[in-house]
């Protein structure tokens, strides 16, 4: 059973999508039957995926593996190899968790070509899960590209006014990156095969050969391969200055698309960096860490400042993502346990907080069909429950202690500050920490303009508070915001080992800042 678990989780949504081809057909298409099919499929997927953390062995590496030969023609050595470790475990669960919530949150929002919309959502889910569980580069690349198609349609068909521009921009940006990655994958495959006489795309095998020095990459080769992967991933993150596709894609995407885009798709870049770049090209990673960290810190400040002055709610949240993901990248390239753990935790946090923010924007968009901040004001008078939950999400986004965002952000700061590989680590961290102030500025100012004050616009006077369905969609997010903030050990303990492995690859003899160094223990 365990061997098939990941395959089941990956393929369940696609099975639902196939079923959706038939469900609800007839004289009058039965919209609810289609919605329920999609929802139940995604809920089942989520339920099954919960077995992963429950059965996960925190002290072991790759688990729930299934490894079958796939394309043997010409001795290509492509395999169907899936598995999760501490790095991908929670990202898989985050994905299966967010899809049903996204479906619930936009239950009535989509009426045009509903069937195709739901099929796209489920296909997207399979693609996203596949990226996280694939342990074969060929398979990984396949899922990476497959995922683009439903997302392209979600933005291009069900999006806003400039949806075509946004969808094309999204695809072109991504494809430019992924072509470079494809070249790097092929080169890595070839070089590894030549050195070890084992032509394989297997991620674990290649990482293992590199670790045991059966296969070595001189810095010059690492450099090319590093950037081949890194550009693809950094665009996806998105790291400044590759971020301009994001505001457009978010603004135009429908609510559920935005939730998944922010919640899951943005994590694939940082996941890739941790899966490929750091363990496979450690020397190049160290070489370019300063440069990338500089971009990350610029992104933190730049994203926050630009977010501050956005008149459109979705754009504001989009730019805030640029800022938050900057923290993640900074944590990764600090090459410390705290930085990497914080980065991974921040990926989950951002998925929840920003996902919830997009849902919240979606709720008021459904009511008013506008996202302009100036159109609102005083919503607390008419939508008290909405306003209270909005406040919790806002505070989570500005990293208030005991809420999820704080744990990740602070760990990143600890990691970056104590980094022994990063020159000027203290300066970088101090600059990054201004994000703490700026996030409070743009989020609270936005909250004030939307929620507080008198109702000045008559169109808002009759708004109804969020209903049962909307509360149901938001409730799990709110609960997780608290749980992850109060008891992070639940999550961190399962990723400890994977993180330590990655860190050990980049900084083998980590000069761990501990009591031993500065503190006289004999006292």
């Amino acid at each position: 059973m365990d061997n098939y678990l990941l395959t089941i989780i990956t393929l369940l949504p696609v099975a639902g999508a196939v079923a959706l081809v038939a469900v609800g057909r007839g004289e009058k298409p039965n919209a609810n039957a289609m919605r329920w099919t999609a929802l139940l499929t995604s809920l089942a997927t989520f339920a099954v995926s919960l077995l992963l953390p429950l059965k996960f062995n925190s002290s072991a590496g790759l688990q729930f593996e299934q490894n079958l030969p796939w394309i043997d023609a010409f001795d290509l050595g492509v395999r169907y190899h899936v598995g999760v470790d501490g790095l991908s475990l929670w990202l898989v669960v985050l994905t299966t968790f967010l899809v049903p919530i996204a479906l619930i949150s936009s239950w009535n929002s989509i009426n045009f070509r509903l069937r195709e919309y739901l099929i796209s959502m489920l296909a997207l889910e399979t693609g996203m899960i596949g990226v996280f569980v694939a342990m074969d580069m060929f398979l990984f690349y396949l899922f990476w590209e497959v995922m683009l198609v439903p997302m392209y349609f979600l933005i291009g068909v069900w999006g806003g006014e400039r949806r075509i521009y946004a969808a094309v921009k999204f695809v072109i940006y991504t494809v430019v990156g992924s072509l470079l990655m494809l070249a790097a994958i092929i080169a890595l495959y070839y070089l590894h095969g030549q050195a070890t006489n084992n032509f394989t795309f297997d991620i674990a095998t290649i990482t293992e050969s590199l670790k045991s020095h059966a296969f070595t990459l001189p810095l010059n080769e690492q450099r090319w391969l590093f950037w081949g992967f890194a550009i693809a991933f950094l665009i996806k993150v998105p790291l400044f200055p590759f971020h301009t596709w994001l505001p457009d894609a978010h603004v135009e995407a429908p609510t559920a698309g935005s939730v998944l885009l922010a919640g899951v798709l943005l994590k694939m870049g940082t996941y890739g960096l941790m899966r490929f770049n750091l363990p496979m090209f450690p020397d190049a990673s160290r070489k370019y860490a300063t440069f990338i960290c500089a971009l990350a810190v610029i992104g933190i400040i730049y994203g926050a400042l630009v977010a501050m002055v956005q008149p459109d709610l979705k754009k504001l949240v989009a730019y805030s993502s640029v800022s938050h993901l900057g923290f993640v990248v900074l944590g990764i390239f600090s090459f410390t346990d705290q930085g990497l753990q914080g980065a991974l935790y921040q990926m989950l946090n951002h998925g929840i907080s920003t996902g919830a923010l997009f849902m919240i924007v979606g709720f008021i968009y459904d009511r008013r069909h506008t996202r302009l901040i100036s159109e609102f004001g005083g919503l607390a008078n008419v939508m008290p429950v909405f306003s209270a939950l909005f406040l919790v999400v806002t505070l989570s986004s500005i990293a208030l202690p005991l809420l999820n965002g704080f744990v990740g952000e602070f760990l990143v700061l600890v990691g970056a500050f104590t980094s022994t590989t990063l020159p000027n680590a203290k300066l970088f961290t101090s600059l990054a920490a201004t994000g703490m102030i700026l996030s409070a500025v743009y989020m609270l100012w936005m909250y004030q303009r939307v929620v507080m004050g008198e109702v000045k616009n008559d169109k808002n006077r009759e708004l109804t508070d969020i209903d049962f369905r909307e509360r149901l969609a938001l409730a799990p997010m709110i609960i997780l915001i608290f749980v992850m903030g109060i008891y992070p050990a639940l999550f961190l303990s399962r990723s400890d080992r994977a993180i330590a492995d990655i860190r050990a690859r980049v900084v083998p003899s980590a000069k761990v800042v501990a009591m031993t160094e500065n503190f006289d223990n004999s006292k």
Binding site: Y190, V306, G378, M436
Partner: protein, 669 residues
């Protein structure tokens, strides 16, 4: 030693907040006030019980723990959810819960009939949870939890009247200015961790924890130069933490949020913005005294900022018309006094002033609240006067607070203020000239304090009635439109005033300076705090001995007594004659600091973010490049159209060719 009741002290108000937050909307005012007061009452009772049960151990310097769980643990970094009771946190929980309880009682009367009564008390209880967590935390990260938690509650309570724009602006300003301070605090904690490998205060072998303070004690003191501020050593840690303190405790340059915070209901001003939260900075600096004593430059900065803020805010207080604004600037000024004490190495005196100030300032704020309610929501003192006969109890109790803060002998403020001035004059930590200068600043502040507080009392309670009892019907939320004469507040409000007045009289006797009694009465406060506070290092050898003997102390005490009476006399003569004296515009407008910040920081950042970062860099530069590249590609593509056969096979061929090229590069290279 372990004491599981410690967590009950913080959890009782949390439970109250949760109950009120979830079910409060459906409850009546009576039930709400009962739950709110009960939860804080339990917390207060437990605090007293725990404190006196362990009093003997605390005097000996015992550290009593309550470990709940390990909050964050990654690599060498660890932060626990664990509480620590020692004499410092012990004294703090006593007066915090005591004063808070009576303010809660007061608020049940003050907030009567307000919409969102439940919300108010839920926030207030949540504040208590955060404040007690701040105080009882056994490591800096948990302190930071409380630190930001009280900031959140302050935000929520300042913005309690959320339909009013000025309240919302004030709330946001409070949060953001505090975040600027927190930025410094967080960096200080990071640097402390980098240097000491721990963010815990003290060693705890049972948990395998090393304390940062033990590390600090093992370090050599930094030299008293300016360059050490940026050297990344212990002075840098101390200075960064003090940045946090200037935010929370409203010191120069981050004091600007506190006066605006008066937009919140008056009990909030009394509890959060006078008695408890704003003193958190003083608590933090005293808590970290082991670090500060190794950083003489940081101590000097603390003393100078404290002294400067004390004088600066006092000059503004004298020119304000809003009764709460006077008290707000007075609080900023008194907080400056406390930092002055810390900076000269008299941490105990600073905490002692926190303690006495909590009583008389909470009393004064609640008194002003009683006046405001009695005057049907009038806060402008130019429209008050002669209220003595209408509100006898408010008058009597406020008079006690007035005399206490002015420094009249035998009231609480006298003892603590006198102690600070004496310690500043004789400080062995600072350069002696600087010490004398700061003493002069402190004495001038004391004089101003007596003057502006007398002004407040005279304008409110004496003189002509400058209000209109019959005229225009101003609508207020209380709806007493039928009779406009001021009236005394109900018992629920008067009783807390009386209790706090008693505190304002007697609290000082816990810490009678030994010089005054000729050493006959033990200074209990100092004795108790001794184990929790590090001994400052003397500036020079002679300086360490210069301060001995009680002669100087008595002379200085006589001098501060003269100052107190002089200030009251001046204020009385001045404002009895010309109550509506027009103050200089510069003072009335608070030196235009807010306007300067707007012009120098806020507006430029907004303009640059919109005009440069977004509209130019993002849209023109980056997107322009992307779109330009796309256009170039499509131009190119038109030429290459013939290469596009539309056959999948030829695409595959192109991809393979590309791949071969890449592989070829590596084979050759």
């Amino acid at each position: 030693m372990n004491e599981p009741l410690l967590s009950a002290i913080i959890l009782a108000p949390l439970a109250g907040a949760l109950i009120l937050g979830v079910f409060g909307k459906r409850m009546g005012e009576r039930v709400i006030s009962l739950i709110a007061c009960l939860s804080v009452g339990i917390s207060a009772a437990l605090s007293f019980y725990v404190f006196f049960r362990h009093l003997h151990a605390l005097e000996e310097g015992a550290k009593i723990h309550d470990y709940l769980f390990t909050w964050i643990s990654v690599g060498a970094f660890r932060a626990d959810f664990a509480l620590l009771l020692d004499s410092l946190s012990g004294i703090y929980i006593l007066f915090v819960t005591f004063v808070a309880f009576w303010i809660h009682v007061f608020a049940t009367g003050y907030m009567k009939g307000e919409a969102g009564y439940w919300r108010f008390f839920a926030y207030l209880n949540l504040f208590m949870f955060a404040m007690l967590t701040l105080v009882l935390a056994d490591n800096f990260l948990l302190m930071f939890v409380g630190w930001e938690g009280v900031g959140l509650c302050s935000y929520l309570l300042i913005g309690y009247y959320f339909t009013k724009d000025f309240a919302n602006d004030a709330a946001k300003k409070a949060f953001i200015v505090n975040r600027i301070g927190d930025f410094g605090f967080a960096l200080g904690v990071l640097l402390l961790f980098l240097k000491s490998g721990s963010i815990f205060y003290f060693d705890d072998p049972t948990r395998g924890i090393h304390g940062a303070f033990e590390w600090a004690a093992s370090q050599a003191a930094d030299p008293a130069t300016l360059s050490v501020i940026f050297a990344g050593g212990i002075t840098t840690i101390a200075v960064l933490m003090f940045v946090g303190a200037t935010g929370k405790s409203a010191q120069i340059p981050l004091f600007v949020w506190l006066p605006d915070a008066m937009a919140g209901p008056t009990p909030v001003s009394a509890l959060i913005h006078a008695a408890t939260m704003v003193t958190a900075g003083v608590y933090m600096v005293s808590r970290a005294s082991s670090i500060y004593v190794k950083a003489p430059t940081a101590m000097a900065i603390v003393a100078i900022i404290g002294g400067a803020t004390a004088l600066f805010a006092a000059t503004i207080a004298i020119a304000q018309w809003d009764i709460k604004k006077v008290l707000a600037y007075s609080t900023v000024s008194q907080l400056g006094y406390m930092f002055l004490a810390c900076g000269v190495g008299a941490f105990t005196a600073g905490i002692f002033h926190v303690f006495t100030h909590a009583f008389f300032k909470a009393l004064l704020f609640l008194g002003s609240g009683s006046v405001i309610i009695g005057m049907h929501h009038e806060q402008d003192m130019s429209r008050m006067g002669g209220l003595r006969k209408y509100m006898p109890w408010t008058f009597r109790t406020m008079a006690v607070g007035w005399l206490a803060i002015a420094g009249v002998p035998l009231l609480s403020g006298f003892f603590s203020k006198d102690e600070i001035l004496y310690r500043t004059f004789t400080s062995s930590v600072l350069d002696p000239t600087l010490g004398k200068l700061l003493w002069f600043v402190g004495a001038a502040t004391a004089l101003l304090t007596a003057i502006y507080m007398t002004r407040l009392m005279v304008l409110t309670f004496w003189g002509n009635e400058r209000f209109d009892t019959h005229g225009s019907h101003k609508h207020d939320s209380h709806g007493h439109d039928d009779h406009h004469a001021p009236k005394e507040s109900p018992t629920s409000m008067v009783l807390p005033l009386v209790v706090l007045a008693a505190g304002a009289i007697f609290a000082g006797y816990l810490g009678v300076p030994e010089g005054l009694s000729g050493g006959r009465i033990q200074n209990f406060f100092e004795h108790l705090l001794k184990p929790a506070i590090a001994e400052p290092v003397a500036h020079t050898e002679e300086a360490a001995h210069a301060a001995e003997g009680h002669g100087t102390e008595l002379a200085l005490t006589a001098f501060s007594t003269v100052i107190a009476f002089l200030g009251i006399w001046v204020g009385w003569r001045w404002f009895r004659r010309t109550p509506l004296w027009k103050p200089p515009r510069l003072l009335e407008e608070k030196y235009f600091v807010d306007e300067a910040y707007d012009a120098a920081i806020i507006n430029p950042v907004k303009t640059a973010s919109t005009g440069v970062l977004w509209k130019i860099i993002d849209v023109k530069l980056i997107d322009g490049a992307v779109n330009g590249a796309a256009r170039l590609a499509s131009l190119f593509g038109t030429g290459l159209r013939y290469a596009q056969s539309g056959l999948a096979r030829s695409y595959v061929a192109i991809v393979v060719m590309g791949a071969v090229l890449v592989i070829g590069y590596f084979m050759l290279g």
